[in-house]
Structures are given as structure tokens and as C-alpha cells.
């Protein structure tokens, strides 16, 4: 019952206000986390058997009657469901302690679950307009979640995020309308077949440009990234983790990739554009991250940079490049989620995000320091952590496809990434203990537990990278490398 991925969070969100009335903390905590844990388990256990025979279009039935829902489940969407569920669960666990002081936990969890439902809904959509609808579901929930603290900074960041995001969405709908006008259809299979029949290069190029603008803005690719360095730091830490770790990838990278690779087909022009947008984001954001004093702001710029890496990898178009890009998407979701969570622990303990004010926290918060180090090294691409393997795949793919210059730039940017992460680690955790923090304690149980969980996953995937790749990444990459056939073949109805 894959529909559960959307319906379960929505139903639980619906009853959360009631639960919140009965019990301020325990019942909402329990409901939200149990829901997400159930989804993680379901994705891990049942998911793969459903797609054993190739991509499927699931049609759920209600009391014997089939409903007109066609959920597209294939290697790529299952992979995304897994990523969303795991990081979503970890951040939710973190929220048990972190969101204590924000008030109204039930409403928070309700918004959070709606955002999860929106992301899952987007991933399972097999129809261009439905992609837009669930994109907006997750987006509306995220606007309120960014502003959740109701402080000046949060409200300002949320407002700017909203304004830019809505313009992006408008362009997505415009592109969908043009495609609809040409092919008369909205579902992936019919559109793919229709476009192939029409051979309307220039118009598809314009629609692609609109999609690039809209989804590029959601993914915060340079030059559409201006909203992210304000929104992600201002949001509460678990929300920053989900935004950076999941939302920009689901609404931005997944939507773009699904449409460009499986519906339009990756033309050389599109590939070049994606690769250039990727490399520019990678480099520019890395430089911008260097000068940051605010811990979360630095992480935000790093997200822009790493999304550039992902888009670069997928843009190459070769199976190896796509696999590398997807693997990096997963690793970054885990690691960046982890880093934002630890930054939340630090912020809660010290009351500041300013790296210059911190120092020597490792002595008082050893677990947080350790998990932060794992996350930092993972993103920087240090072996044997997971980030190393995904970056390696992308670089090898670049060389193999004849883009040696890109590969050199990517490697240099990685060195830069390593540099500013080590800087962050040193400033915050190592060095002399700043006298101000002498009385600081380690983060509360659920906060440390969730960060340890993500850190263990980073290490585990780093060690068992080849089995992770074969089980989760390769099926996803195969679907994308198949191009149009993935949707027109066994999906067609």
C-alpha cells in the first residue's frame, strides 16, 4: 500500500490537534515519530519487492472499487522515498527535545507531517500537474515551518523564501501548460510519447528553460539561490535539516531529473546546461561558504554547493554519472541533515550560531563533536565515509565522459569544501574551551540519538558502499539511464 506514504502522514496530521489537546508533549511526539518510523520500515522492507519486475504504476483500491490514482513506483522513486523517510524520521526524533521551547508541538508535527506527505506525493506522482500540486503542498508547509520561531529573522527569511518560490512555481505551471498544449496529455508516458512524435525542439527548449528556472530555484542552484542562505539558518534546526537535506532535492533535483531524463530525454544541450549550472553552483557557493561566521549559514552555502555537485553528476548523463549524482544526493541528505541537527544541539547549548564565539565544545559535548566530525568529513569527501565514494564516482564519470576540466575543478572545489569544514570543526569543537561554555552539557537524549543514528549510517554506507550502490542506487540510476523507456515501457496503461 504505497499510498500510505501520502495518506498516513496526512491522517496523523489531521488528528494531531486533537492529540495535542489530550497531551501536550507525549502523544504528539509518539504519533509523529511512530508514523515516520513505520514509513522507513515499510520502504526498507517492502519497497524493493514491489518493483522487482521493473517500474510499476500502482492503482490502489478502496472497498473493492479502484480509485483513479496512479502512483509511479520505480527504482528512482523508491530511492527517494527511502531518503525522505530516513532523514525525516531522524529530524523528527530530534524535534522531541529541540522543539520543546517553541510551543504548540502538535501544530509543528502536523506541519512537518504534511511536508513529508507533500514530498512523498511528489516522488510518487506520474503526472506533470500532480508534481506541481505536491510541490506546493510541501512548499506551503515549509514556509510556515521556516517562520516557526516567529522572530524577526525567521519571518523575514520565510517571506523572501515565499516570494521567490511562488514565482518559480508559476513558471513550472506555465511550462506544464505549454507541454499540455502540445501533447494534450499530462501523464509522463503520454507526454513522452507525444513529444517524441512531435519533434518540437525549440518549444521543448523553452519549456525546459521554464522548468530549469522553477526547479532550479527550488533546488537553490546559482543564480537562483538567494533565498536559501537566509531561510535555512533561520529555521529551527530540524527544519533546516529537512529543508537542506530533503526539500531542495525533492522539489528541485528530483522533479528536474525525472522530467528531463524520463519525459523529455536528456539532449546534449540539456546535459551541458545542467553540468554548467552544477559546476557554477559548486564553485561559487564553496567560495561564499568560506567567509561565513554563522555556523548554519556556512552549512546553507555548502548545501548549494553540494546540490551543484549532484546536478553536475546527473547532468553528465552516463550511467556512472547518474549513479554518482544519486548516491551523492543520498549521502548529502544524510550528512547535511546530520550537520544541521548537530548545529541545533550547539545552538541550544550555547545560544549562539557564531563560530568565533564558540571554542573547545568537544570537551563538554563529545558526542555532538564526534557526530559533527563524521558529517563534515562525509560531505568533504574523506574516505572511508560515504561522501568520498559518491564524489569519486562523479569525478570518474566526468573523466570518462571526456570532461577532464570539470573533473579538475570539482576536485579543487572538494579541497575547498574540506578546508572550510575543518575550519568549522576546529572553531566550534576543538581548541581551547571558551570560558563561557564551561557549564554546557551534552545535548538531550533524543537529539544525540538522532545524530548518532545518522552518523552511523554515514559510516556504515561508507564501509558497505558497494552493496548500498547495488541495492538502492543502481536501480534508481538504471531507471534514469533508460530515459524515455522507463515511463513509456512498462508504465504505459
Amino acid at each position: 500500500m504505497i499510498i500510505l506514504f501520502i495518506v498516513l502522514p496526512l491522517v496523523v496530521a489531521g488528528i494531531l490537534p486533537l492529540a495535542g489537546r489530550l497531551s501536550r508533549r507525549v502523544l504528539p511526539d509518539l504519533l509523529a515519530n511512530a508514523t515516520l518510523l513505520a514509513l522507513v520500515v515499510y520502504a526498507a522492507v517492502a519497497g524493493r519487492s514491489l518493483i522487482a519486475g521493473g517500474p510499476v504504476l500502482l492503482q490502489p483500491s478502496w472497498l473493492g472499487e479502484t480509485i483513479g490514482l496512479r502512483l509511479g513506483l520505480d527504482g528512482f522513486s523508491l530511492f527517494m522515498l527511502m531518503a525522505v523517510s530516513v532523514v525525516g524520521f531522524a529530524a523528527c526524533l530530534f524535534s522531541i527535545n529541540y522543539m520543546e521551547h517553541y510551543g504548540s508541538k502538535a501544530t509543528f508535527y502536523a506541519l512537518y507531517l504534511v511536508m513529508m506527505a507533500g514530498m512523498n506525493g511528489l516522488v510518487l506522482a506520474s503526472d506533470l500537474f500532480s508534481v506541481y500540486v505536491f510541490l506546493e503542498v510541501a512548499a506551503v508547509a515549509s514556509y510556515a515551518l521556516v517562520a516557526y520561531g516567529l522572530g524577526h529573522d525567521e519571518l523575514e527569511a520565510a517571506f523572501k523564501y515565499l516570494m521567490l518560490s511562488v514565482v518559480g512555481s508559476a513558471f513550472v505551471v506555465a511550462a506544464v501548460a505549454v507541454i499540455y498544449g502540445m501533447t494534450g496529455a499530462l501523464d509522463f508516458a503520454a507526454v513522452a510519447a507525444g513529444l517524441r512524435e512531435l519533434n518540437a525542439g525549440p518549444v521543448v527548449a523553452i519549456a525546459s528553460a521554464f522548468f530549469l528556472f522553477g526547479f532550479g530555484l527550488k533546488a537553490a542552484l546559482v543564480p537562483f539561490h538567494a533565498w536559501l542562505p537566509d531561510a535555512h539558518p533561520s529555521a529551527p534546526a530540524p527544519i533546516s535539516a529537512v529543508l537542506s537535506g530533503l526539500l531542495i532535492k525533492v522539489s528541485g533535483v528530483y522533479a528536474m531529473t525525472r522530467i528531463f531524463l524520463n519525459v523529455f530525454g536528456l539532449t546534449p544541450a540539456l546535459s551541458t546546461v545542467m553540468m554548467w549550472m552544477g559546476i557554477v553552483s559548486l564553485v561559487v557557493a564553496a567560495f561564499l561558504a568560506l567567509g561565513q561566521k554563522d555556523m548554519k549559514r556556512m552549512l546553507a552555502y555548502s548545501s548549494i554547493s553540494q546540490v551543484g555537485y549532484i546536478v553536475l553528476g546527473i547532468g553528465i548523463g552516463t550511467p556512472l554519472g547518474i549513479a554518482g549524482g544519486l548516491f551523492h544526493l543520498f549521502n548529502h541528505a544524510l550528512a547535511k541533515g546530520l550537520l544541521f541537527l548537530t548545529s541545533g544541539s550547539v545552538q541550544q547549548a550555547t545560544g549562539t550560531r557564531d563560530l568565533d564565539e564558540m571554542g573547545g565544545l568537544a570537551k563538554r559535548m563529545p558526542v555532538t563533536a564526534a557526530t559533527n566530525l563524521v558529517g563534515a568529513l562525509s560531505i568533504a569527501g574523506v574516505p572511508p565515509l560515504n561522501g568520498f565514494w559518491s564524489k569519486l564516482l562523479i569525478i570518474v564519470a566526468l573523466v570518462q565522459a571526456g570532461h577532464g576540466a570539470f573533473a579538475v575543478v570539482a576536485v579543487l572545489a572538494s579541497v575547498l569544501t574540506l578546508w572550510y569544514y575543518l575550519l568549522m570543526q576546529r572553531k566550534a569543537f576543538f581548541g581551547k574551551l571558551n570560558a563561557k561554555w564551561a557549564g554546557v552539557k551534552e545535548a538531550p537524549f533524543w537529539m544525540t540519538a538522532s545524530t548518532v543514528l545518522l552518523a552511523l549510517l554515514c559510516v556504515g554506507i561508507g564501509i558497505f558502499f558497494s552493496s548500498t550502490i547495488t541495492t538502492w542506487i543502481q536501480p534508481a540510476a538504471d531507471v534514469l539511464a533508460d530515459g524515455l523507456h522507463a515511463v513509456t515501457g512498462s508504465w504505459g496503461f
Binding site: G103, M115, V133, L145, M182
Partner: protein, 160 residues
Amino acid sequence: MILQTALLIGLVIFAALAILLRDLLKSAIALAVASLLLGIIFFRMNAPYAGAFEISVVAGLITVLFVLTIALTKTGEEVRESKLVNVAFPVVFVAFIVIDALVMKGLIGKIPALAAGAETGSFGDVLWKARTYDLVGQIAVILAGVFAVLALFRKREKND
């Protein structure tokens, strides 16, 4: 067709008025009139459901929300808009209209389209059976909006 074109021109004019007028309340009303015109345009396109929705929801509900917000944020001092904009906006806009017209004229017949198939069923069938997933999305987005408002207007017990 002439009436339709006149209505469309009216729509654009009122939308521009909504953007340019200084008084917020007048802006909101101009927007409502624009929505009304759009609703009528939809009716004449043989899209009565869209027209009814546009008029009742956008011209009605959204205008009410705007007026409510305007009332709740009445300041003594007005936000001073740039004077340059009042000159620059029409100029740039007219320039765009000209380019727009030329582009559209040039594109006529250039965009290929597959022959349209016949549409079966009633509106209810299409909405409930063909676009069921969108309905789930609608429920989700309404939940998102409701919880967003609840979250943004919640009572803070202690100040932190």
C-alpha cells in the same frame, strides 16, 4: 471575440491598477474587479466551473482575506513607494506588450500540437476519477494552510 478581447484588456488594466494604485484598499478592490472579469472571460470560454470558482473564491474569499489583512495592518505612516516607478512601470510594461505581441504573432502556427482527442465524461467524472491525485493534493495543501495559520498565530506562553 471582440467582447472577449475587450474583457481581456479590461483584465490587464485592472490588474495593472491593482499594482499601481497607492491606496491598499483600492488596490484590493481593483484586484477583485480583475478577478470578476477573469471569471466572466472563463464563462465565455465555456468554462463555467473555472469561472464560478474564480469569482467566488478569488474575487470573493481572497479579497476578503486581503481586506482583513489591510485592516489589521493599518499604520499611521504609509509605505513610500518610489516615484520613479510610476513613470517607469507603464513605459516598461508597454514596451513588453509590444514585444509580446510581436512574439505571439511570430509564433502563430509554429508550435506543433497533436490532434486533440475527444473528452469523455462529465466534469464530475474528470475531477473525481481522472484527477483524483490532485484532490488528495488539494486536501493536503488545505491542511498545510490551516496548520500554517494556526502555527503563525499561536499563543506564546513565555517569551524566548
